[in-house]
């Protein structure tokens, strides 16, 4: 691999063992994956779930991160301040808190920005089109590649951390123009683009992900006016049921002004047709039965935008959670402060809900309280992971947000 002078210095240990280790990982990985060089990255987004020993090894002797680095949502639903109100067990908290403290000490020393969200672009980490970046989180990767046309690979957590600390990433994969083109076209058939709902879009994403697998997709036939949260609803399930990295939306996303451009004027490898029947059948996978009692509602996967928080607060206004019911809402701290200023969080909290910056897909170990047997969400991604991670103990149904709220409140 061809290295610059400063990269060589980092690799040789001149700047300490942490940078040496990180460079070693980047070089070895790059060579194995056919990258000829490293490139500077304009931002990183890393996952606060490092084994503390590894984080210490990779940051030993390092003064600050090598690029602007934000942190992903607290992995797992565990929130260090709110866990008791969320009904998460003391045993779980006792395990998490000391490790969290060790990590936070290092984050503060190196200047990691404690954003704790899966939507860092909404809270200040806003790369420009064409920027090379290293972001973690299958959704954050997909969103930033698709919605902003900045370029991240689907890096794993260790390469990503090495990239954040050195400010470099191997030049490969989705950094290259030719690997960003659409390969599979998604055509909506008989679906009114102006009457499409939030969970319709989630169902389309869930259906398409399992068929597209790892290929880049181009969705044709959606309306330009779709709100950002609706585009996120479409995209979030794609890396859950499949492992899609890029979802171009014709007329909506920067690399897809037209279908032809998104495909690089080539024929698609496949056309996936989605009709009303496919949407209905996908919704059946996570439907409520008439005899189910809903004990919990989870919203905010991906994290709620301020508009979504407003809509939730409006729906909850004048209501209370029914006895024994729970409501978790995932959103970035920064959004929470705005919701507090505007009075929305008060409405939600007075009704008995909790707004947290943790992960509402509850990855990786799903601390859903023991008294919950059935929960509702508006997110197919959350439904996918929670039902798997709880190994069938918890039934998860997907419904529109207002129906979710009504299922647990009165």
């Amino acid at each position: 691999m061809i290295l610059t002078r400063s990269e060589e210095d980092m690799a040789s240990g001149k700047h300490g063992p942490g940078l040496e280790k990180c460079m070693h990982i980047l070089i070895k990985f790059g060579e194995a994956m056919g990258a000829e060089r490293l490139v500077p990255i304009s931002s990183a987004h890393t996952i606060p779930r490092e084994p503390p020993d590894l984080l210490m090894e990779m940051t030993e002797g390092v003064g600050q991160t090598g690029t602007f680095t934000t942190l992903h949502a607290f992995m797992s639903a565990f929130d260090p301040q709110l866990w008791e109100r969320m009904g998460i067990s003391e045993e779980y908290a006792a395990k998490e808190i000391p490790v969290l403290k060790q990590r936070i000490e290092i984050y503060r020393r190196l200047g990691f920005y404690e954003t704790y969200t899966c939507l860092p672009m909404l809270v200040g980490n806003l790369p420009r089109r064409g920027d090379f970046i290293s972001w973690i989180g299958s959704c954050a990767q997909l969103f930033v590649n698709s919605l902003l046309a900045a370029r991240t690979n689907r890096d794993g957590a260790v390469l990503n951390l090495a990239a954040a600390i050195t400010g470099r990433a191997p030049y490969r994969g989705l950094f290259l123009d030719e690997n960003r083109l659409g390969q599979v076209v998604v055509e909506l058939e008989g679906v009114d683009p102006h009457g499409i709902t939030y969970t319709d879009l989630g169902a389309i994403g869930y259906y398409v992900g399992s068929r597209a697998q790892q290929r880049n997709i181009v969705v044709n036939g959606l309306a330009r006016e779709l709100d950002i949260s609706y585009l996120l609803a479409l995209m979030a399930p794609l890396p859950a049921s499949g492992s899609v990295s890029i979802c171009h939306v014709v007329g909506c996303t920067p690399e897809a002004p037209t279908l032809e451009r998104a495909l690089g004027n080539q024929e698609p490898a496949e056309i996936i047709r989605v009709d009303k029947k496919a949407i209905a059948e996908t919704k059946e996978l996570h439907a409520l039965s008439s005899n189910d009692t809903v004990e919990m509602c989870i919203l905010g996967c991906p994290h709620c935008t301020i508009q979504e928080i407003r809509n939730i607060a409006t729906r909850l206004s004048g209501k209370k959670l029914r006895p024994g019911r729970r409501l978790w809402i995932g959103s970035a701290y920064q959004t929470y402060y705005l919701a507090q200023t505007m009075g929305y969080s008060r409405t939600i909290e007075e009704a008995g809900g909790v707004v947290t910056s943790s992960c509402m897909a509850t990855i990786p170990d799903s601390p859903i309280p023991d008294d919950v047997g059935t929960l509702v969400t508006n997110s197919f991604k959350a439904a996918h992971y929670i039902s798997r991670l709880t190994k069938g103990r918890v039934k998860v149904a997907v419904m529109e947000m207002p129906d979710c709220i009504d299922a647990v409140s009165a």
């Binding site: 070895k28 194995a32 994956m33 020993d53 299958s138 890096d155 794993g156 957590a157 390469l159 990786p364």
Partner: protein
């Protein structure tokens, strides 16, 4: 019997082979606390890969898989080496995180040459497989 592969991460190791016929991830398919394979309804379910030579077609998804591999290493439950047909990014990172030898792109079909339980040693990019007794 010797086969040659491409070195993804160098190093020497020896141990018993554990051969998986499906792509492997340290998250979901593996318990770092026991070193055992946790793929439901798979014949290798419950088999430990701790200190063994893991042989698999490739890796797959799961961005925090390299962290799980590291946790397993700290508990003495990580494999001693990884051999695969084609190194995918996440499995490659996992091997680098725990710094165990990893090889791919062999000159012969790995799955014809290596069976579970055989003694395997890796030295300078060459894999020696002991003839079955």
């Amino acid at each position: 019997m010797k086969i040659k592969g491409r070195i993804v991460n160098e190093g020497n190791a020896a141990g018993q082979a554990v051969v998986l016929d499906v792509p492997f991830s340290f998250i979901g398919d593996f318990d770092p606390n026991t070193g055992k394979i946790t793929i439901l309804n798979h014949p290798m379910f419950g088999e430990s890969i701790a200190g063994k030579i893991l042989v698999c077609p490739s890796g797959k998804g799961g961005t925090i898989a390299p962290f799980v591999a590291y946790e397993a290493m700290k508990k003495g439950n990580a494999p001693a080496a990884i051999l695969c047909r084609e190194a995918d990014p996440i499995l490659c990172e996992s091997a680098l995180a725990i710094d165990v030898p990893m090889l791919d792109s062999f000159d012969e079909d790995l799955f014809q040459m290596v069976k579970t339980g055989q003694a395997v040693s890796i030295e300078n990019g060459e894999v020696s497989v002991e003839e079955q007794a």
